[in-house]
């Protein structure tokens, strides 16, 4: 569903991502982890069609994000780490607009369900500028889910969310994947990745250090005898030379 091959991104002489390749299949949840400046957000923004790759091929549901961006974006939802909303629009107006943008014909029932799910019913007619950080995050997630995307990209999705919302979001990500969506979750919270993800991609300085399932990541270190936590794997991977 999500295909990245030999993706490079450079800003002048600074290389942000170098030769990254990975796939996320329908139903899989890929955890994208790495230290600050590893290239996680750059990768997600390129997949979302916001920034151009310097080289390589990125596609969503078979559509190249550079050559056929509209078809690719129609199948995609991207939730940035600090989503910005239209200050003067209400929560419901955001959903109305997203429904129009993605041509969701009968959106009302689905939108109401999402508001219910994320406890935003009372905020339906509240302007975005009056919402807290966590509320705005929830609105952005509702907007992302509204058109039932085949590929969902989350950048630090838990920031600002309360424990109830975290539980709801984690469950909803699981449900989306079970329904056939390919999900990428970029996060520094290794426990979230461990709980939620089926696959793991460790990045450092724009290069892939590991790509595979969580079990493969654990078995990579024989000395930890299969008991390695994701935290152990992460620190071992980033402190050593590339292992894959």
């Amino acid at each position: 569903m999500i295909h990245v091959a030999d993706y490079h991104k450079a800003y002048g002489s600074t290389v942000a991502v170098a030769g990254l390749s990975f796939d996320v299949f329908a139903g899989a949840i890929l955890g994208l982890v790495g230290p600050n400046g590893a290239g996680k957000t750059t990768t997600l923004r390129a997949l979302a069609g916001i920034i151009r790759p310097t080289r390589g091929r990125l596609s969503i549901a078979g559509h190249d994000v550079v050559d056929d961006p509209i078809a690719a974006k129609r199948e995609l939802a991207y939730i940035p780490d600090d989503p910005k909303l239209f200050d003067a629009l209400t929560v419901w107006e955001h959903l109305e607009f997203i429904a129009a943008a993605y041509r969701v014909a009968e959106f009302t029932t689905r939108a109401e369900e999402l508001l219910q799910q994320f406890e935003l019913v009372e905020k339906r007619d509240t302007m975005a500028q009056e919402l807290s950080r966590g509320m705005r995050q929830k609105v952005a997630i509702c907007c992302a889910y509204l058109h039932q995307p085949k590929a969902i990209l989350f950048d630090e999705p838990l920031t600002g969310l309360d424990p109830y919302a975290i539980r709801t979001l984690k469950a909803s990500i699981g449900r989306r994947a079970a329904a056939g969506a390919a999900v990428v979750v970029s996060s520094h919270l290794l426990s979230l990745v461990e709980d939620l993800c089926t696959h793991l991609l460790i990045l450092d300085k724009g290069r892939s250090l590991f790509s595979g399932t969580l079990d493969e990541a654990r078995s990579r270190y024989a000395d930890l005898q299969g008991r390695a936590s994701l935290e152990d794997v992460f620190f071992r991977a980033t402190e050593q030379a590339p292992i894959s």
Binding site: I50, I51, R52, K73, K84, A88, L89, E93
Partner: protein
């Protein structure tokens, strides 16, 4: 354009009206709107009355003729600024919400550009209406002025967008080289034209200057494309003048639009970067520093020795001073550069016996203006520390000490800059020494008073600098009210020292030194209650309820 984007425009316009109306529902909001409308009426009504009463007089025709001659040069200048500076970047600026929600949505790049243009249309119409009324006396007909300004503003916007799109297509180094080459050609033509004008004007007045500009072939070639728009602005009859020139202007605009859409440049990445940069700038403006820049790594090389403790005021002033230097160096350099230019002009012009008066006038005027500019536009004292109020409140320092420390950094730095500028002007005209010495002596209490009052009002009535949107009459009204209050308070605070100085002269006999010394002493004495009031206002400031949006 995509129907969803039309829907967004409709929802945004509705939301802007809703926000404006919501503000009017409270008494305070309604008063602010009335105050704003009253202020606008005060600006516009005299223009309209003058235009009606003076209509048909020969002097009005002459004003229109002179304005028409010089207007294309104004357009040329703005176009050059847009094409050759970062100001043109705004043409592809999208708000952070637009970047997050529209760039990853299934919209074509062209659709987003059309949305961007459409979104600005209401603002262009409002600006054109305001400008056409403000400059009503310069036009032959209001309608021509309005239509012409609207088409000119649209052209400038499209030109900036065309340049930005071209930059996306052409490789950066090639694009910059082409831009520099074009700028060189334009400057060369401008110099040739000015040389022609200079040769013809031999000590004559404005009439001779006008004739020379009109007869200069080079200058006329340079402004020819812009003349189509100024012909629209200054058209007399509706037909064929206005209709014909407006049609020609519209054709140029449509041509530019076609070029932009044909290029179909992939601008999203640049637009996202510009958006982030401008968003940061907006954030700085909201923090009270419209002219401030983020501290660069080069700024880290600047170190200041720690001053004495002074009850805690020393470290606070040190922090203020260090931040001011690191974030505002470019403003200081620009100011000093401007002063050097004035100095060079003054020395080259050699006005003879008038030089002392001219130098002191320019020096004192410039330094006084700097006080107002820096106090309002640089993140100094409490205005710049608005988002750090919690930290300031937790410091184990007396509010009075904090107030002194917060104000001292900016006041000392500003005074130092002003003294250097005054010294420069004195070097150009040594006979101005007495006036310059007096100005240098007054600089410190003057700066203290302006910065102190500014911060006092800000802490009592916290208003962020103008960052509102269209129809945001409350924000505009609040800023207007703030500045009106500031100037109202300055009248007695500067009037009393001047009055007591005059009284001293009455008693002792007129003498400038007596007047200046008395006024200076009273002004310095006035500073103490102002600082005490700033400390009181800081103490009562409640970050949980008074923090402006």
């Amino acid at each position: 354009m995509n129907p969803a984007l039309f829907k967004l425009l409709w929802l945004s316009t509705k939301a802007a009206f809703r926000r404006a109306l919501r503000g009017v529902r409270t008494v305070r909001g309604a008063l602010l709107v009335l105050f704003t409308l009253g202020f606008l009426a005060l600006m516009l009504v005299p223009q309209v009355i003058t235009a009606i009463t003076m209509s048909g007089r020969p002097e009005m025709a002459r004003i229109a003729e002179t304005s028409e001659l010089f207007a294309p040069f104004g357009l040329l200048l703005i176009a050059l600024l847009l094409v050759f500076t970062a100001a043109g970047e705004r043409a592809i600026y999208f708000t952070p919400a637009e970047v997050d929600l529209l760039f990853s949505a299934p919209f074509a790049r062209r659709e987003l550009l059309l949305y961007k243009l459409e979104k600005g249309t209401l603002g262009l119409v409002a600006t054109s209406l305001f400008m056409s009324l403000m400059m009503l006396n310069n036009f032959r007909s209001w309608l021509s002025g309005f239509v012409g300004i609207l088409l000119s503003l649209a052209m400038l916007r499209l030109l900036a967008m065309t340049t930005a799109m071209a930059g996306q297509i052409v490789a950066e180094s090639l694009y910059n080289r082409a831009r520099r080459l074009l700028l060189g050609v334009v400057l060369l033509l401008l110099l040739m034209g000015l040389a022609q004008v200079a040769r013809r004007v031999q000590g004559g007045g404005i009439a001779e200057l006008v004739a020379s500009v009109r007869d200069s072939g080079t200058l006329q070639v340079l402004v020819a494309p812009f003349r189509v728009f100024t012909r629209t602005i200054f058209a007399g009859a509706w037909f064929p003048d206005l209709a014909g020139w407006a049609a020609a202007s519209l054709a140029i605009n449509l041509g530019l639009l076609t070029v932009i859409l044909k290029m179909d440049a992939n601008y999203l990445e640049s637009a996202a970067a510009i958006s982030q940069r401008l968003y940061e700038q907006l954030r700085r403006i909201k923090q009270g520093g419209g002219l401030a820049m983020p501290a660069s790594s080069r700024g880290l090389r600047i170190h200041l020795p720690h001053p004495p403790w002074l009850g805690g005021a020393g470290p606070v002033a040190w922090r203020q001073l260090l931040l001011a230097i690191r974030t505002s160096r470019h403003v200081f350099f620009a100011t000093m550069g401007l002063a050097v230019v004035f100095f060079t002009v003054l020395v080259a012009a050699d006005p003879g016996p008038d030089s002392a008066g001219l130098a002191s006038g320019m020096g004192i005027g410039m330094t006084a203006y700097l006080t107002f500019l820096f106090a309002m536009q640089l993140p100094w004292a409490f205005r710049g520390d608005l988002d750090h109020m919690d930290v300031l409140k937790t410091l184990p320092l007396h509010p009075m000490v904090l107030a002194v420390g917060e104000l001292a950094g900016g006041v000392l730095l500003l005074t130092l800059i002003q003294v250097v500028i005054l010294a420069l002007f004195t070097a150009a005209a040594p006979a101005s020494i007495p006036a310059m010495l007096a100005a240098a002596a007054f600089a410190l209490p003057f700066n203290g008073m302006i910065l102190g009052l500014n911060n006092l009002l800000f802490l009592i009535y916290p208003v962020r600098l103008m960052t509102g949107t269209a129809f945001d009459f409350q924000t505009f009204g609040r800023s207007l009210l703030f500045f009106s209050l500031l100037f109202l308070l300055l009248i007695p605070l500067f009037g009393i020292p001047a009055g007591i100085g005059g009284l001293a002269c009455l008693l002792i006999g007129f003498s400038w030194p007596v007047f200046a010394l008395t006024a200076w002493l009273v002004l310095v004495a006035e500073l103490l209650p102002v600082v005490i009031l700033v400390a009181w206002a800081f103490q009562r400031f409640d970050p949980s309820t008074q923090m402006p949006a």
